[in-house]
Amino acid sequence: MRWLFLKDLQILRRSPLLVALLILYPIIIATLIGFAISRGPSKPRMAFLTEVPAAASKLDLGGQSIDVSQYADEIFSRIEPVRVSSEKEALDKVRSGDVLGALIIPPDITQKLETGLESATVKVFFNSEDPVKYRFVQDTIKSEVQDANAALTKQLTKVALGYLDLISKGGDVSLFGSHFNVLGLEKAEAIVRAAQASLPANAPQREQLAQVANFAKLARDNLKLSGGVLQSVGTPIKVQQTIVKGGHTPLDSFAVAIAVTVSLMFVTLLLASGVLALEREENAFLRLVRGLVSRTGLLVEKVGLAAVCAMGVSLVMLAGIALFVSLEWGRFPLWLLGLGFGALAFGAMGVAIGGVTREVRAASLLAFMVSLPIAFLALVPSGSVSEGLYDVIRVISALFPFKPTLEAMNSALNRSGGIVGPLVHLAILTLAFGVIARLSLRRFA
């Protein structure tokens, strides 16, 4: 068997174009998929006009100054702003398709926010030529306005709480340029109680003053409670996050696992299916299995060759990625386990494809046709499709090695979930595809 292994390596060495394609193609595809998954959509171009005079960009809420331009800066981190000088210019740019939308901040926004008598309004115009970007712009603006609303609500709550504290405890306050001293319920109660104490024991005013003092105390006690109520109104729903499945894998690290799995899949499938089909195309299959090597031995050799080559490519790829993304080299043995089991399962699937198709070109085509949808199906997140459809996708994904390999590599690289389950799954798939491949060799010649 080792002579066949060496022969295949020799043939590969003499097919530099094929080898280059076999290595470069999956790496490029894997890198592109990794980029697509780890990066969000590009920033949409949006016309931006602020009609707020520079001097009026700050608003005063309860004595605290807020710069509205800081919210614009946050929006700019998600869009590519194209500054315009008028609303007409903004609309022209939207209509011409130069920008996807326009965001216009009216001049009275700070005034409205300050008085709180009327809601402040920002204008947004959309170009819906590209539905994906339109949706993204809409979501971005909506999200930013919600963030701004939440921040302002928080600030207003803080101001209101300050006023309540002032009413309760008393103190100085500035309003519309004038300074006031507010007595406060606490001091008022103390004064009333002092006045009550100075009266004769049977004076009828004592009872009346006691009622006033009690009211002041009751009001103070209730104002203490209102602080909590106001704060809960400011943040009516808090989010408590608990991960029940999967690990805390950053998007970049998950993209590494995907890229490596895609690369492993392509190299192994194409190589295993191709080298087996080549034996038939070169008419050597019958000569080999006529006592020189068993059919099962031939399959083992092809799977082994594809697995070794694919693992080599994947490890080189991981070493390259490690230059840009932090990887835990201490988990290298687990990487090897994930790659090894995955490569064997893909290799077994590859020889099954090669055995069924019996021609190199047909084998390569089928390997592509099968592998791409399987990879994409395995990446469909739960909840993004109906429950029934997701169950179907899960079953299909479980029948092929991509998903368990991805899970094994995600575990090995990112400590996400256990690795034993995916490895057992891959071992079962290796056997199953091996049986299919062996059966296909009955009609291979």
Binding site: W3, L4, K7, Q10, I11, R14, S15, E282, N283, A284, L286, R287, L288, R290, G291, L292, V293, A445
Partner: protein, 244 residues
């Protein structure tokens, strides 16, 4: 399963014997109780019209296919087999192909075997050329050389001269003749009846899976009873007489 050799065959100088071979493909009977025997150093030609079962019979003799009935006296490891289409790796050189198969055949001295085959096939100067760059005739020589690596007593050749030009064909038959002269029994199938007449000591005629004749080419001409016909015309007349 092929059964082991019948003991009497060797005693009679018969090195290959097939008895009552039957092969079916579904409902179709491709070989109907076909028998043949070949002696040491004999050249045996299997001829017949297309679809007669020539390649199927050779495949069974080679152990590539299993018969549904009958037996073959030698196991696959004991005979050399040369398929019609060259079973070679085009990216490897002549020497590398020979070396690979010599190793797989577990030849005791691989290098000596390769050198012997290069010399025997006259391809020493082309030893380092990739097989894919060889002419059809030279590819067929390498193809045959691989069949001879284990120095078998019997060599089975399926349409060995197909797709060769006349000059290449002539050289190929010289090579095969030399093998037979050294004692190798050569059983070959051909659709070119003149090659059977010129080179074979024994002719086996098949038609629709049925064995119609076994004997020398001259005897076949005698059966037809037309001495003025060439062998090809006599062969066609023979088939007509037998209803094919």
């Amino acid at each position: 399963m092929q059964e082991p050799a019948a003991a009497p065959a060797a005693d009679l100088g018969v090195v290959l014997e097939a008895t009552d071979i039957v092969k079916r493909f579904g409902e179709r009977e491709a070989l109907k109780r076909v028998s043949l025997s070949a002696h040491r150093g004999e050249l045996v030609a299997i001829i017949g019209p297309n679809g007669a079962g020539k390649t199927t019979l050779l495949s069974i003799l080679a152990g590539v296919q299993r018969p549904d009935g009958g037996r073959v006296s030698r196991s696959p490891e004991e005979v050399g087999w040369v398929p019609q289409q060259a079973a070679l790796y085009n990216k490897l050189t002549v020497a590398e192909n020979l070396r690979l198969f010599a190793r797989l055949e577990r030849c005791p001295d691989v290098q000596a075997t390769v050198e012997r085959m290069l010399q025997q096939t006259g391809l020493e100067e082309r030893a380092d050329d990739p097989v894919g760059e060889l002419s059809g005739g030279n590819r067929q020589r390498v193809n045959i050389a691989i069949g001879l690596l284990s120095a078998p007593d019997v060599l089975l050749l399926d349409e060995p001269s197909a797709a060769l030009d006349p000059r290449q064909r002539e050289r190929l038959w010289e090579f095969i003749g030399a093998l037979a002269a050294e004692g190798t029994t050569v059983v070959y199938s051909t659709h070119n009846v003149q090659e059977a007449e010129r080179y074979a000591g024994q002719v086996v005629v098949l038609a629709d899976g049925e064995l119609l004749y076994t004997g020398s080419p001259r005897e076949l001409e005698g059966i037809v009873g037309a001495t003025d016909l060439d062998f090809e015309a006599a062969f066609v007349a023979f088939l007509r007489q037998r209803g094919h």
